[in-house]
Amino acid sequence: MTARAHDALVVGGGLVGASIAWGLLRRGLSAALLDEGDVAFRASRGNFALVWVQGKGDGQPAYTRWTRLSASEWPGLRDMLAADTGIETELQQPGGMHLCFSEAEIELRIALLERMRAASGNHGYDWRLVTGAELRDMLPGVGPKVIGATYTPYDGHVNSLKLLHALHRGFVSGGGAYLPYARVTSARAAPHDFVVETQVGSFSAPRVVLAAGLGNRDLAPLFGLSAPVLPNKGQVLVTERTRHVLPLPTVCVRQTGEGTVMLGDSKEDKGLDLSQSPDVMAAIARRSVDSFPWIGELNIVRAWSALRVMSADGFPIYEQSRTCPGAFVANCHSGVTLAAAHALHLAPMIAAGELDPMLAPFTAGRFDVPAAA
């Protein structure tokens, strides 16, 4: 069968792949989005939907900058998607809170955010500790066990399912080729000349972008790349809808645009395992009620788990293949937060054939340092 030719093939139809594919289309490239289908581990459908900056990039200022760039361009992405598709992604960026339950936790938090402020240099990094009456004012019904919270003005949240929907709709209506059930079975890679075999046929292009999340681990070596990512499980509980109570999101509790309250932020390294467990669910519920006792009055209506795509240091992986230029890898655990950076910055770099030096710290080579004996 003849391979169908495009300017770019994007492997992975989740938020990372769809953001890049939509961005490539906006740059005038023809693109095919090869999606594994509903058997894939869909981090894009199980995430917590924060557009989050606070605390990200400790030890890697380039990640802080990339994250903040994306958060600051999110309103533009929202407007473009709304104009393109009519879909409202419900972005709100009122700033975000990280709750602290002990003096020790507050000390650690202050040290972290002061480090981040220092590392941000002239770019600045606004944060403050909120306590007492001001805390109760900003977070109605916050529990007595919460002794303080750190606030940064950059944070927010969206409806990430609508984001995924909008990116897909925008991609398809813009002339992109969306291929479901297109699990990649093999590939032939040469510089700027790629043929990818899938369950639904062959595709060729001078550019390939690997955005298959956990699947990148096996795909990357086919293109002279490396993506040493591992799954990290998060479980989420969702309450019934209520009138709006929470004016801003916290890391573990947020009220969605349609009124449900999402509770989450568990972290487990259990491999490719999506099972839910009563002990973790109970711990999430307990911390949520400690944070906001009124949550205890609400019914839980849904619960699920999903797998984060984690590198060893928690930072993204972006790289162009040295042996097969034209092949790129993109991995991160923040496909929501970074959607604007991926669509409006990374995609143009890929279209131009070169990653900006600002992404140099994110090559996978950083994981190759041999461990000290």
Binding site: P140, G141, E240, R241, T242, R243, V245, E258, G259, F292, P293, W294, G296, E297, L298, N299
Partner: protein, 100 residues
Amino acid sequence: MFRLRPEARATVRVTVCGEAVLVPEGASAAAAMLLVGPGAARETAVSGARRLPYCMMGVCFDCLAEIDGVANRQACMVPVREGMVIAPQRGARKIDPEAA
């Protein structure tokens, strides 16, 4: 729209939207709402669309009601009790963050 079967013995008195209704013992609060009809329709939390009980088996959540002061109950899962006060859920439930 809905009415009792002729042989039914309606002996339990409940209130739906302020209206007294007699229903058979063992019936659900949702059945009492259906006896009242369209006036007992809830309003959905997001769009405000009006809905009456539908599946009557705990699946569709279209029978959400405030029953004896407790919001968002699935009325089809709650058997009637003498004196029960039933009001269809209008929009998202309220929560008082300071009361908990």
